[in-house]
């Protein structure tokens, strides 16, 4: 139903918050530049890891990035349309066969590697 006011509002929110991010996908290794407030200053903090899932629709969409830092695995969820999300740099394209890489949680070290995807490189949102 297109006459649902919520769908209309969400479409507008999505349009207004669009900012041309790189088209990273599940399995890619990315560096997320996210603005954080530290005391009374604002600075950009980078979070580097593997994208393991996308979730939600419209402007509510989020993605989860997983990294292993000092032997401790950290997963962080970022709202894709957050004004605080500065940019997402793709470091490495991954070739994966799943939309949700939950299996990575059970793997570590060499087992947790993802094959690099070669060839196709598209740009845009």
């Amino acid at each position: 139903m297109s006459d649902d006011p919520i769908i209309e509002l969400e479409k507008e929110f999505k349009e207004s918050l669009k900012k041309g991010l790189s088209d990273f996908k599940v399995g890619d290794t990315v560096r997320v530049n996210f603005r954080i407030i530290e005391g009374d200053k604002e600075r950009v903090q980078a979070f580097e890891g593997v994208v393991i899932r996308f979730s939600g629709a419209m402007h509510r969409r989020t993605f989860t990035v997983r990294k292993v830092s000092g032997g401790v695995a950290v997963e962080r969820i970022f709202p894709l349309y957050s004004p605080k999300l500065e940019s997402v740099e793709i470091i490495r394209r991954g070739r994966v066969r799943r939309a949700r890489l939950y299996y990575l949680r059970k793997l570590y070290g060499k087992g947790a590697r993802i094959k690099e995807k070669k060839g196709i490189r598209s740009s845009g949102e």
């Binding site: 649902d4 006011p5 919520i6 509002l9 969400e10 509510r60 709202p79 957050s82 004004p83």
Partner: protein, 210 residues
């Protein structure tokens, strides 16, 4: 000035503030309402305005109601609710037949939202009153029941008001001091921070807080 409005709960979503924080909001189709009647102290013993909301076909109403609307030259409306006003001087300048829209609310303003909660039917004591219930394992065959409801020969009866299973939901509930996050007058939409009682499509009354 009219201090309240009738509306319909549409559903929930979220918005981003400029600083990036996410605010959960309820979308309400608020108005347009018509002032169908003014209650005055002289005639009715209290002062209030009667608001009507959502136009309907003639066959949906009975003759007395149709007459009630035609007399004041307003469209036929599904819902009629009164907004009580303590100080009659607030209602100066409000005319019967006048249209009220969500423009009466400003972003950042606090409102109270009244609605009827979702009906839950006959519910046990764990869901209805949040009691703990009994153990699920270790040979227990006594899981979600209420347990003891009293003492012994003294007092020899169950205390009045003892919380027990029964009907839950469909209560009139007012959520107070919700912040107005956005107003869309051209679409009659109101975005209010937080949740609001009732299922989607249910009638809500929005009143200015304080």
């Amino acid at each position: 000035m009219v201090t309240g409005l009738l509306g319909k709960k549409i559903g929930m979503t979220q918005v981003f503030k400029e600083d990036g924080t996410v605010v959960p909001v309820t979308v309400i189709k608020a108005g347009p309402c018509y002032v169908v009647m003014k209650r005055t102290v002289e005639r009715d013993g209290y002062s209030a305005i009667q608001l009507g909301f959502e136009e309907v076909k003639e066959k949906a109403l009975n003759k007395p109601l149709i007459g009630h609307f035609k007399k004041r030259n307003v469209p036929l409306l599904r819902y009629l609710r009164e907004i009580r006003v303590d100080d009659p001087s607030i209602l100066e300048g409000v005319e019967e037949g006048q249209v009220v829209t969500c423009e009466i609310f400003q972003v950042g303003e606090k409102v109270n939202v009244t609605g009827w909660t979702k009906g839950r039917g006959f519910q046990g004591v764990m869901k209805r009153h949040g009691m703990s219930g009994q153990r699920d394992s270790h040979g227990s065959r006594y899981h979600r029941v209420i347990g003891s409801i009293g003492m012994r020969k003294f007092p020899g009866r169950v205390h009045k008001g003892k919380r027990m299973p029964g009907h839950m939901g469909t209560n009139r509930v007012t959520i107070r001091n919700l912040e107005v996050v956005a107003v869309y007058p051209e679409r009659n939409l109101l975005l209010v921070k937080g949740a609001v009682p009732g299922h989607r499509g249910s009638l809500v009354i929005i009143r200015k807080a304080g």
